[in-house]
Amino acid sequence: MLEIKNLNAYYDDFHVLKDVSIDIKKGEIIVMLGPNGHGKSTFLKSICGLVSKIRGTIKYNGQNIAGLGSEKLVNMGITYIAENRELFPEMTVLENLKLGAYSKTARPYEARNLEKVFALFPRLKERSNQLASTMSGGEARMLAIARGLMSNAEFLAIDEPSLGLQPNLRDEVARIIKEINKQGITVMVVEQNIPQITELAHRLYVLEEGRISFEGSKDEALGNDHLKEIFLGM
């Protein structure tokens, strides 16, 4: 579904990703790990058209999408759920969610998806008229995830979904990912603090200093002491 070849990404002159190549098949759950600040978010953003300076090819269902803007990619079914949430502060929870279904492809399913995310996160339904800026850290995280789910994506890139979530909701996130994956959505997650997600992963990648330093199944990863200690410990 996604063939990424020699992807390089830059912020001005700052070279973040260096020749990253990854293949993602339809229906997979991919987990990416790596130390802080080594380019994981940049990688997800690059796929989703949110980094302005990239080189390399990204093929999505056979078509090269490298360099296309996010407004096109969202319509094609590629959605990013941001690490720092990027909500619309002066809009209500409900309006934020509706905007999640902004793309043409998602619009017809707005009502259905809304019901779905409200079922997943009852807190959001309860607070549907609260302004996003006044939500607590964890509530805002739920809203960001829910807004991403509204987009009816085929490929979801989720960046650190557990950031700021309470423990039982972290389990919940793993369950949600499993659930949407079952519905046929391909998921790529950057997440280091939910062991269950690593359990779910079809494949694991480790990104270090802008390069892929490990690729393999979770069993292979668990066999790798170094990895186990650093990323899979908690």
């Binding site: 989703c48 949110l50 803007g69 996010s70 407004e71 990619l73 969202v74 319509n75 959605t79 990013y80 941001a82 990027e86 909500l87 619309f88 502060p89 002066e90 809009m91 309006e95 509706k98 905007l99 999640g100 902004y102 793309s103 619009r107 807004r147 987009s151």
Partner: protein, 290 residues
């Protein structure tokens, strides 16, 4: 006394509708881009000069045609100006101040170009509707009625658009978080340019409507900028509803202060009310979208 007060209220309403017309465009552009457009007044004059050219060079005096012809010109101009001048600055940390500066430069350029092209003397346009309505002791120029209807109608329509349409919502989204807007698939660059263009059209057509009442001069836009700025801040930068209320409150204030204390007190009173309001409510009357 009663007759007088009604007369003053009528003046206040006329002021209010004129102010509302001046301010919406600024509210929109500030609300979306947080960019302060110093050339706003110059676009106002541009509307007037466009109409004047169509009227005197092409000898067309149907306002309908004048609007039809000038709107696309203003739209394209606004769009291009945003793309070429403002968009490149938005990437910078200090873009707010840079946008102020570049639009100030633009204002200087435009206003003085008008002077070179059209001369320093004011230009006048024929009245959109001659005559006036007389109800008992009161008189209302048709011209003012037209301005009232168009400005209120336009603003309400515009507010409806922002609050109830998807496109409107996307404009607000970009205003609040451009990065977030990008993530949900809103073409933010286009939204920025489009709002700038629409704001230009709004102030430009406002310029046409008011030109037939107040004439066009090369530097007449400054007045408009300051008034629009006061109204926008008073109502809450970015709030259409706020601007509408503010326009009428200030319009009434102006009429009553002018009538009771004299015209020189109007400006002082205007700012006194503004300052008091901002001291109590730093975000203006409304202070957010809607």
């Amino acid at each position: 006394m009663f007759v007088e007060i009604i007369d003053v209220i009528i003046s206040g309403m006329i002021n209010g509708s004129v102010y509302a017309l001046m301010a919406v465009g600024l509210t929109l552009i500030y609300g979306v881009s947080k960019a302060f457009n110093f050339a706003y007044g110059s676009f106002y004059s541009m509307g007037g000069y466009l109409a004047w050219m169509i009227f005197s060079v092409a000898v067309i005096n149907s306002y309908f045609i004048i609007f039809i012809l000038s709107i696309p010109v203003l739209l394209v101009l606004g769009y291009l100006i945003e793309k070429v001048l403002v968009a490149p600055l938005r990437k910078r940390d200090d873009w707010e101040i840079k946008v102020m500066m570049i639009t100030l430069g633009l204002a200087l350029l435009l206003d003085n170009s008008y002077q070179v092209l059209f001369g320093a003397r004011m230009k006048s346009l024929p009245s959109i509707l001659e005559g006036s309505l007389e109800i008992g002791e009161f008189i209302l120029a048709y011209q003012d009625i037209v301005i009232f209807i168009l400005s209120i109608g336009g603003i309400l329509l515009f507010r409806w658009f922002l609050n109830n349409t998807r496109t409107g919502m996307s404009v607000r989204a970009v205003a609040q978080n451009p990065a977030g807007a990008q993530i949900v698939g809103i073409p933010k660059e286009f939204v920025f340019s489009a709002t700038f263009a629409i704001s230009t059209v709004m102030v430009g057509t406002g310029g046409i409507l008011l030109a037939q009442k107040y004439f066009v001069t090369p530097t007449g836009g400054w007045d408009i900028l300051v008034k629009a700025w006061v109204i926008t801040a008073f109502g809450g930068m970015g709030s259409i509803k706020g601007s509408l209320y503010a326009a009428f409150i200030l319009g009434m204030l102006e009429a009553f202060v002018g009538w009771y204390f004299g015209m020189t007190w109007v400006l002082i009173a205007l700012f006194a009310v503004l300052l008091t309001t901002l001291a109590i409510r730093p975000q203006g009357l409304m202070g957010k979208w809607g």
